[in-house]
Amino acid sequence: MAGRVAIVGYAQSHHQHDIQMTREDMVFEVAKGALRNAGISREDVDTVITASTDFLDGRTISNLYTSMAVGAYLKDESKVEEDGAFAAYYALMRILSGVHDIALVEAHTQGSVVNPHLVSSYTLDPLFERQYGFLNDISAAALQARMYMNKYGVSEEQVAMVAVKNLMNAADNLNAHRKMPDVTVEEVLNSKLYYDPIRELTMSPVSDGACAIVLASEEKAKEITDIPVWIEGVGSCQDGYLRDRSLYKLDSLQKAAQDAYGMAGVSNPFAQIDVFEVSEKYAHEELMIYEALGLCREGKGKTLIEKGMTGKDGEIPVNPSGGALGADPICATGLIRVVEAAKQIRGEANGYQIPAYRALAHGQFGICAQKNVVFILGSE
């Protein structure tokens, strides 16, 4: 990368199912919180990028009434209509261009406002899949899970182990929504079945929440903080449409990760990255993510989870915060992963701290993780 950009502040809400707060208040608190965390004021911010979508917010121009709350008044502002990790990616581009120095990034969704699974069916091809009406993100994920599990001989127990790991991890995370310290594989396998093999506990919960970060150019970051978290690499990619891609692997994530690794000079992610925060909207997706990120060979994700290597005290901890299974305020989820990764590097992950110098954060959007963005964060 031409210049260096660092995360210098962050904040997130206490994600929960039906938050008793207006969207405006929720956004205001995380924006204020991130600025306070960075130790700067609204006046220092050059540009503001938010993330929310019109369908999920149930409003046309979803950012319209939150601009003041986020602190964008008379600022160079834009809105990314997808996951907040893409907003961070856009803000990064804005700073790298040299036009802006400090960016505030905010993302939120109140999943309780509009049924997000209904919204997901609106993203389908209106001339074909939508006509049938049996596909949405859950049933598509079920197709994906079956394809993946059949191809590589992955059992439902192995998928359930991912849920157990993440839900137990979430119990240590104050901000997480679904905390289950004593959950067992049996409990996961006995939870409500939506579309076989997707069960209540192997899919992410519907959460309300918001998240914000402050990004700064190298010069400003050094002024603002003693513990900047540097963005060493970034990559993003979108897959073809549902019908036109191989569902049993995450090609676009693989490509995004390779771009990010290349930029950060990572050749062996297993050895060179200390902790991973990924957006697994479904438990089986986490196994696929292991493979796409190059942590194991294709189809071997099950081995990592079985051997406990991705557990909190394993060699490559994945989602010590509980991940998306722990809380999924849709547009904020990816940005929360960035925050959780940054927290690990700053040593501020109370209760689930992993000794980390370099971390990976992943955000996704779309049915079966069609779009992906990957950040490599480091302390040096």
């Binding site: 990368m1 031409a2 969207r23 405006e24 979508t53 019109d54 369908f55 149930g58 409003r59 046309t60 121009i61 950012n63 319209l64 009434y65 939150t66 601009s67 003041m68 709350a69 964008a72 008044y73 008379l74 600022k75 160079d76 502002e77 834009s78 809105k79 990314v80 209509e81 997808e82 856009y90 990064l92 581009m93 804005r94 790298l96 261009s97 040299g98 036009v99 919204v119 997901s120 609106y122 993203t123 389908l124 209106p126 001339l127 990559g235 993003s236 990619c237 979108q238 897959d239 073809g240 449409y241 891609r245 090609d251 676009s252 995004a256 959007f365 779309g366 049915i367 069609q370 779009k371």
Partner: protein, 412 residues
């Protein structure tokens, strides 16, 4: 900062109902036209930025479905949407993608297909801007009469009605000037084969014969709801110089938001501390963009302006905010014909949004039309003078989002 240039432009024919194409094909047409114009293959494109107002066509995140039609599969795609200014913000995102050094060639595309909605898309979509607020107000006992008076200006032209009144009051202009702007735009559109409302030889008297929507707006003042898409190819300096005979450089840009003239807030409270015609966001965006572009005196240095004006008063307001005319004098310049296609400061030679409004695409089209003028490719609506610098605006939200882009024939 890396210099970034537009090296190819593409758009589709705009009309009320494009039933000959579906959404994906329509966007595909625009993107392929742009790639063809730039002589760039789809494989060479590094990144895409896309946008529309997704409530209007009824497809959520449409780029995920139509990505394959524009060659975006396996590429980074960033979706940006900010209301009416969407297109401008999409183009600016593509600029940042290249300027950041992460990508060398980026395609920006934006679209709208209103006719996919059962009711006119713009009406359904826009009512959802404040639907929550309206329901909140009804719950708090809003009278039916008050709702009627809100609907009557809201559905037709919303805050623009008040904006026009504010401007006319402050500047001393009259409804006749709105007629003149609308007539000029329809005449210009007749020269633009991609435009929607084409009316060769339209006169202000023709517009004045149309029925009132709500004073001060007549039906003749108001933009149509169009189907259409537009796209641009942006590239870094090396590639632009190699590939394109006359690259158009993006010299300055800004998109400030200004909520103090906003019509409402989340809880339905407070209408505008400032009046909606003040547009401080536009002034600040213009100042920043001109400073980046090294333009000191826009009245002398800008050769043509493409202003986002679904309502004619906005052409006058934004022309002043962009510093093209002194405060409160744009309507006098209009009277003298200075904003005509062959005038001193041509405004919207393409006919602008007043003649063609595929909402998501509209603000991108303004930048695209400026690029055509600089490249000398605007054909019939090419302004009859040399164009070195041009300025484009986008306008969205409830009067509070502005995107200003300054383009030029040299990067410095």
């Amino acid at each position: 900062m890396r210099n970034v240039a537009i090296i190819g432009c593409g758009q589709t024919k705009h009309s009320a109902r494009r039933r000959d194409v579906n959404l994906a094909e329509m966007v595909g047409d625009a993107v392929w036209n742009a790639l063809e114009d730039a002589q760039v293959t789809p494989q060479e494109v590094d990144a895409f930025t896309v946008g529309n107002m997704q409530g209007f066509g009824g497809v959520a995140q449409p780029e995920q479905w139509l990505g394959d039609w524009i060659g975006a599969a396996g590429k980074p795609v960033l979706r940006v949407a900010t209301g009416g200014s969407t297109g401008g913000c999409v183009a600016q995102a593509a600029f940042y993608a290249v300027a950041s050094g992460l990508y060398d060639i980026a395609v920006a595309t934006a679209w709208e297909k209103h006719s996919d909605s059962k009711e006119p898309g713009a009406t359904t979509g826009l009512s959802h801007v404040a639907l929550g607020n309206t329901i909140n107000m009804i719950n708090c006992g809003l009278s039916f009469k008050h709702l009627l008076s809100m609907t009557l200006v809201g559905a037709a032209a919303g805050v623009a009605c008040y904006q026009a009144m504010y401007y006319m009051y402050r500047s001393g202009s009259r409804v006749e000037h709105l007629d003149m702007v609308a007539a000029k735009d329809r005449r210009n559109a007749a020269k633009n084969k991609y435009a929607h409302l084409q009316w060769p030889g339209c006169t202000p008297e023709d517009i004045a014969k149309t029925e009132w929507v709500a004073y001060p707006f007549r039906y003749g003042h108001i933009c149509p709801a169009s189907d259409g898409a537009s796209a641009m190819v942006l590239a870094c300096e090396d590639i632009a110089r190699k590939r394109c005979k006359k690259p158009v450089w993006i010299k300055g840009l800004a998109a400030y938001s200004d909520e103090e003239n906003q019509i409402m807030s989340e809880g339905a409270g407070g209408i505008g501390i400032l009046d909606a015609s003040q547009q401080i966001g536009a002034t600040m965006s213009a100042i920043k963009a001109y400073r980046m572009a090294g333009i000191r005196d826009p009245q002398k240095e800008i050769d043509v302006a493409e202003i986002y004006q679904p309502f004619p008063n906005q052409e006058l307001i934004f022309a002043e905010r962009l510093g093209l005319f002194d405060e409160g004098t744009a309507w006098r310049a209009l009277e003298k014909g200075e904003t005509d296609i062959n005038g001193r400061m041509p405004c919207d030679p393409s006919g602008g949004v007043n003649a063609t409004n595929a909402i998501g695409s509209s603000a991108l089209q303004r930048i695209l039309e400026c690029a055509l003028q600089i490249m000398g490719k605007a054909e019939e609506h090419q302004v009859p003078k040399e164009v070195h610098n041009a300025v484009a605006t986008g306008w969205g939200g409830a009067t509070n989002y502005i995107a200003v882009t300054v383009l030029g024939d040299s990067p410095y």
